[in-house]
């Protein structure tokens, strides 16, 4: 029990003293999660809108696929991305293996179905009268899309926060694609796994606290948004 208490005390010391190794992992996490979120939102929101808004043959099957992809194991994504960007893979020449952009690609694949599926649900729950109402103002197609998005903005934010929570807490992709290289591709989650394995609980707990803080901030934001929707 003592080693846990000792670990927490040392962790707090690492955080307040701005330990460079600890904050390097935090920085890497913010970078890759930020990059992956930009890509997944840019692709996932229009895809989710189309999936929720339009009727087309095969829509239900496609929806089922996207919903299923929400539960994709991170190690599987890691494996696929590794195979694609390793030197023998089709994208090997891009030199993305063991880099932060490489991890970001994997995390974008992880976040995309979450953003698309939850955006589609938000659009599906949109008032059915919104389209005829907007049409009655003589809006263009672009304006129809933008106003509809604004109407479901809280649903889209919830989708984004869910996806963000998923990418910041994953280990499989960061470990396999990033290689957990110190000062370079080591993220919070891979650092926790490594340090715990080495018996260095203080660093693990310090990073764990930051991760908890991020998860807490995401949940507070979600409950705040639900309240003001």
């Amino acid at each position: 029990m003592d080693f846990i208490i000792d670990g927490i005390i040392k962790a707090l010391h690492l955080l307040v003293s701005f330990d460079s190794e600890t904050y390097s992992a935090v920085q890497a996490t913010i970078y890759v999660s930020g990059m992956s979120m930009i890509v997944s939102l840019a692709l996932g929101i229009p895809a989710g809108f189309a999936l929720g808004y339009f009727s087309f043959p095969g829509k239900r099957a496609l929806r089922l696929v996207v919903d299923t992809l929400m539960a994709l194991p991170t190690v599987f994504i890691g494996l696929v991305v590794y195979a694609m960007i390793s030197s023998r893979g089709p994208l090997g020449s891009l030199g993305l293996l063991f880099t932060l952009p490489g991890i970001a690609i994997g995390q974008a694949i992880l976040a995309f179905p979450v953003v698309a599926a939850l955006s589609a649900s938000a659009v599906e729950s949109m008032d059915a009268q919104l389209r005829p109402t907007l049409m009655s103002f003589g809006v263009s197609r672009t304006r129809l899309f933008l106003t509809s998005l604004r109407e479901v903005r809280f649903g889209l934010l919830v989708a984004a926060l869910n996806a963000y929570g998923r990418v910041t807490t994953e280990v499989g992709i960061s470990m396999m694609v990033g290689g957990n290289i110190k000062w370079h591709t080591r993220t919070i989650t891979t650092a926790i796994a490594l340090e715990t394995g080495k018996g260095m609980f203080d660093v693990g707990i310090a990073l764990g606290l930051i991760l908890l803080l991020i998860a807490f901030a995401v949940n507070v934001s979600m409950s705040f948004l639900r309240k003001y929707e």
Partner: protein
Amino acid sequence: MTNALFEIRNLKHRYKDRIVLEEESFDLYPGTITGITGPNGSGKSTLINILGLILKPTEGALRFMGEQVVPFSAIARERIATLTQDSTLLKRNVSENVAYGLMIRKDTNDLEKRVAESLESVGLPFSSFARRSVKALSGGEARRVALAARLILKPQMLLLDEPTAHVDEHSSTMILRAVLHAREQWGTTLVISSHDREWLESISDRTITAFNGHLFKEERINILTGPFEKRGNSWYKVGVTSCDCNIPVPMSPDRNRSAIIPASALYLAHDSSRIPDNAMIFKPRIAGISLSRNKEHLYVSLSGSDCCLVSIINSSEAGSFIPGQTVYAYYDPADLSFR
């Protein structure tokens, strides 16, 4: 070449394989009020949505100010505004909802003043409503905000689908006052649909009846809904309750279709001697008599066979028919059509 503001020619609208609206020729003239009445599912909302350029008809030509509007022209869509049956408000405050149409047109001069005027026109004070969330509005207030959002655009044609349905009497009065004011001020052409025929007739220049996807432009029509029953050698619209006034029809090609008799083709007589031999005759009771809007003739309501029929008589005949009296009613079979 007509001087119609909106022209419809050879219109057909299908939903899946079913024709839900069919009309050969229908014109709307500038500054007029056209009322559309009819039962649920008769095609009223479909017509409003087609006229409002919300719904593209399956077939037919639509012309607004002489110009083709299918595919929908941007100019026509800017000049026509529609208050749909279940108009929703955006998740913004009242002021932003009213200003929405002007914002998308990038017409933002004196925006706050125009929003205030529009809100005031529907009886909602700007100072107390502008910043209010739409969630804090009652049904009647929400409907008036939706109308204010259309009136601010000063549309050339305003379509209102059941504008007073599910709203309180005060809101209903304010809505009517605001749209009549719009017509008076800007010459807006109004098309209003409602189940309330009496109310529509009191405000409209003409009232048309939609039934089973067809528009009847006669002043009044009588709809005898099927099924019809064969008794002896004749077909009748038979009442569900005990009624000795079954209405004869010449034939029933399809038991479930409805028969239409224009009110102007349903005649009344006190004795049968002057009724033509080929006429279909029945004996209803006079339920009531009312004066038409132009005061040129009288509507005689007849109760018979679980439906209320209407006949039109000249004002000069007013004294000869009294409510409660049983009379002969007859029509020429050629004037009856099945839909």
